[in-house]
Amino acid sequence: MARSNEPAFWSLFSAGGMVAAFLIPAAILITAYMVPQGKIDAEQLRIVMDHFIARLLLLAMISLPLFHWAHRFRFALVDLGIKNAKLPIAILFYGTAAGSTICAAYLLLPPIFS
């Protein structure tokens, strides 16, 4: 047995869990209630989200919660008895999170620097 590299993924899981816990409920209130109910105009929200601080926040809110999902769901499958495809599942899940991070970075970062 050797020391695992799991801390890398656990750190991402923890960071994602924190970001999700602090920000997602309020974010859902904004996007599922305040905008559809007209308390915030969709275009006004878009302009706010276009701001560079919002873009960075958005990047964090996309990337980290997805790593949180990847890590937690990977272990949840083991809990449910799916213990065999451990490596393929890990690659698929963390890969999805990483790929989404790259997509988000590509969409959100360039306008900050241009």
């Binding site: 047995m1 020391r3 695992s4 801390p7 937690r72 272990f75």
Partner: protein
């Protein structure tokens, strides 16, 4: 034991006890026994009554009958309990189902195979590895109350293994080090006299150590001595993570685990 006036000799209750007799080639089954109900009896008293008066073939472990030896752990109505601490009055008048501890192989009746657990204790090195070697002539190791407080809770573990029976991760993977072994490892890692955290880290910080744990938390709920193994494991995760990042940033430095967090 004087019979109280409010109790008649006719009050009884039923125990449905798991039986498994490999020598007789029988499949596992449940046998129902009717035992006297006394409001000061525990499930262990009922089992002893069964063995003494009804069926001497029933096999089970017990010793101190007062919650300090950790021998008498069994599933009582699906919950891992020390049978010496589970009072009949909390179940009366309903029948009580008694089964061997979950997630362990059964040798016979209510006796489970705990060899792998003992092996895990050896792997974790649940003994003091002194930070500084001292001969007896040099005097005692000194420790402040604050230093003692850091690990004292984990010294209370009586190796009863109720926590393993509550842990679904262990249920799915018997190779998981498990709550008690890790808590006992932490008992020494956090002891200021100990210098063995680095030695233990290869086992505790392995993928079959703390990283299998998903913090269900039931281990701490069922622990009869309030050891809080779940808390011990989460602290170990933080320590392991700090060590891992330090290892990244200072790769040339000798890998020393910061066990005394």
């Amino acid at each position: 034991m004087a019979a109280s006036e409010s109790q008649t000799a006719t009050e009884t209750m039923k125990l449905e006890v798991f039986r498994f007799l490999p020598d007789e080639g029988e499949l596992p089954s449940f046998q129902t026994y009717e035992v006297p109900y006394r409001d000061d009896w525990v499930v262990l008293d009922a089992l002893n009554y069964i063995k003494d008066e009804i069926d001497g073939t029933l096999s089970y472990r017990w010793s101190c009958r007062m919650g300090v030896c950790g021998s008498c752990g069994m599933m009582v109505n699906g919950e891992p309990k020390l049978t010496c601490s589970a009072f009949l009055r909390d179940y009366y008048p309903n029948p009580i189902k008694v089964e061997p501890l979950n997630y362990f192989p059964v040798i016979r009746d209510l006796i489970i195979n705990m060899d792998q657990f003992i092996d895990k204790l050896g792997e974790v090195k649940t003994w003091l590895i002194p930070a500084e070697e001292k001969s007896v002539d040099e005097g005692e190791y000194l420790q402040t109350p604050a230093q003692l407080a850091k690990y004292k809770q984990y010294t209370m573990c009586i190796n009863c293994m109720l926590c393993y029976s509550a842990c679904p991760v262990f249920g799915q993977n018997p190779d998981f080090l498990g709550p008690a072994a890790i808590a006992l490892g932490q008992r020494y890692n956090l002891d200021s006299r100990d210098g063995g955290a680095d030695e233990r880290a290869d086992v505790i910080f392995s993928s079959e150590g703390i990283w299998e744990c998903t913090f269900v938390g039931e281990c701490s709920e069922v622990c009869p001595k309030n050891v809080d193994p779940a808390g011990a494991i989460q602290m170990a995760k933080v320590t392991a993570t700090n060590d891992w990042f330090k290892g990244l940033l200072m790769p040339k430095g000798k890998k020393k685990s910061g066990g005394d967090q």
